[in-house]
């Protein structure tokens, strides 16, 4: 969600956002457990790409393969879809915050912990977005 927000310009790249900026993201402060997996649009980037996000507790490569292959069987072109795994950048505070807000329903406490984790990981998240943009511009090969 945070990477998608950076990508479309809803969060800054040159500074770490305030917790309030993170709470303002849809679902950041209060996310129901049954939402994981739903693909939600965040907006469009300056090049016109639709940027979406989803929570993923499954194995990334399995989810990507299943979505891609079922899409192909249904006649949907998936060549224009770039999947980006942000989980390797999730620190323990982000995981703990997510657990707090989604699993044991302590929304306020969970969001505060997650925001602290996001702020700590923020430079890495900006870096991932920049690498993703480079892939979209054809300057880097997609991850395989």
């Amino acid at each position: 969600m945070v990477c998608a927000a950076i990508h479309v310009g809803r969060l800054p790249e040159d500074r770490v956002p305030a917790p309030q900026d993170l709470y303002a993201l849809p679902g950041f402060a209060s996310e129901s457990p049954g939402r994981a997996g739903w693909i939600r649009p965040m907006g469009k980037d300056p090049l016109g790409h639709t940027v979406c996000f989803l929570g993923n507790r499954a194995r990334f490569e399995v989810l990507e393969r299943a979505v891609r292959q079922i899409g192909e069987k249904m006649g949907v072109s998936t060549a224009d879809v770039l999947y980006v795994d942000t989980m390797p950048l999730a620190n323990w505070l982000m995981r703990l915050g997510s657990l707090g807000s989604q699993t044991i329903r302590l929304d306020g406490l969970g969001a505060a912990i997650a925001a602290r984790g996001v702020r700590a990981a923020y430079p890495g998240l900006v870096g991932l977005v920049r690498r993703t943009r480079a892939v979209l511009r054809g300057e880097r090969p997609p991850r395989r």
Binding site: L63, R65, A66, I70
Partner: protein
């Protein structure tokens, strides 16, 4: 219309449900261990193939039947598939995503873990097949519900109704 049966590893409940659906297995009697062993992909798909979609055949109303394993987090992957297809404009009336794992018992799961995860094929495969025999009628019911839904959607589509 396309039907996707999914389970954990596309090795047991989904392939048997698909085999019943496509007429490879007789729904009026429980298959023998040998008959189960002859089903393509039964207890044979590798963990590295999770998420891969396999064609299983064609159903009685012309629907294409596939099997796929979602591994852990099946609910998350189900939602991802459903929302992806919706974003791409695919009508939900054109496909069915059917959870075959919900009809498994602990015997099927234990056999599957022994065979597919631990590599103890000679031990796990017969246990999984035994479990499948125990839940066979549940799988037949699942297929009959699925085929009824396929027919219902075809009838509505024929009348031009959503």
């Amino acid at each position: 219309m396309k039907v996707f049966y999914h389970c954990y590893g596309s090795s047991h409940t989904s392939v048997v449900a698909a085999a019943i659906h496509t007429g490879q297995l007789d729904r009026r009697r429980t298959p023998s261990l040998r008959e189960l062993d002859r089903i393509p992909n039964f207890d044979r798909v590798r963990a590295a193939d999770l998420g891969t979609v396999f064609f299983a055949g064609t159903g009685p109303d012309g629907e294409e039947v596939y099997v796929v394993g979602f591994g852990p987090g099946k609910d998350v992957i189900r939602r991802a598939v459903l929302s992806f297809l919706a974003l791409k404009g695919v009508s939900p009336d054109d496909y069915l995503l059917v959870d075959a794992l919900s009809r498994a018992n602990w015997v099927v799961k234990a056999g599957g873990i022994a065979s597919r995860r631990l590599g103890l094929v000679s031990l796990g495969r017969p246990i999984a097949a035994l479990g499948i025999r125990q839940v066979y009628q549940r799988l037949v019911e699942l297929v009959e519900e699925t085929q009824a839904e396929v027919r219902r959607r075809k009838t509505l589509a024929g009348r031009g109704l959503p």
